[in-house]
Amino acid sequence: MDEKRTIMVVEPDVLVRMTVAEYLRDCGYTVIEGVAASDVWAVLESGNRLNAVLADVKLSGDVDGFSLSRRIRQTHANIDVILTSGIAGAANKSQELCEDGPIRKPYQPKDVEARIKGLMERRRLSDKS
């Protein structure tokens, strides 16, 4: 692979975003993290190149993942848009990217899902105490 590929992960839940982004970095990608559709436009308008956008259907702000996806396909047809829904969806889609990624995946997608759920459970228990 000639150059490091860049993926933007747009995900409003910090625990999902953090885990998926770290997983994709371990797979050799450059990863930019965002929470809203406007973050994607900020990257593109600054002249940075994205190879793929992995976005949840629910995003922070007024624009949802479906609208973001439509707009990217209209204006930047060369960018792959991958929509996800929920933890399992994000884990599975990140696995597909990793399978196709620059380096061998360091762990399984079920581990990504299990890790996110483990973090959420610990947060829940912490909130209770």
Partner: protein
């Protein structure tokens, strides 16, 4: 024949050190995070203080917090600092703001430092290293 140039490993950070950045401005967060990753830190990005609290509550390793004081949402950087003092008093915090007077209202603790905005990226690294070394 010239000696090969050494890669700047001596400037690389201990990869085990984790910086949690709390910044609601996407472009500022992106730039600072990318810079800190480039110099060798692991970086977790939070857009709000509540996100930072969610990360810390999940027992994810965090060695230092670099947080804006004026954050979007109901919880400010000051509130986060107070929450940290109660829950994670040993985790250092580097606080930043465009308003230098904010520093006067930050609770004085040995594990707190202030970096006025706008800042040079290299200055974040210097201050973060300095605070971690105090630990």
């Amino acid at each position: 024949m010239e000696e090969p140039v050494a890669i700047q490993q001596d400037h690389a950070e201990d990869p085990r050190k984790v910086v949690l950045i709390v910044e609601d401005d996407f472009q500022v967060r992106w730039l600072a995070s990318e810079y800190l990753r480039t110099v060798g830190f692991r970086v977790i990005e939070a857009a709000t203080a509540n996100e930072a609290i969610a990360v810390l509550s999940s027992r994810t390793q965090v060695d230092i917090i670099f947080s804006d004081i004026n954050l979007a949402g109901e919880v400010s950087g000051h509130d986060l600092a107070r929450w940290m003092a109660r829950n994670y008093p040993k985790v250092p915090m580097l606080l930043t703001s465009g308003n230098e007077r904010e520093w006067a209202s930050v609770e004085t603790r040995p594990m707190r430092a202030f970096l006025p905005k706008p800042y040079a990226l290299a200055e974040i690294q210097r201050r973060v290293r300095e605070l971690i070394a105090r630990d």
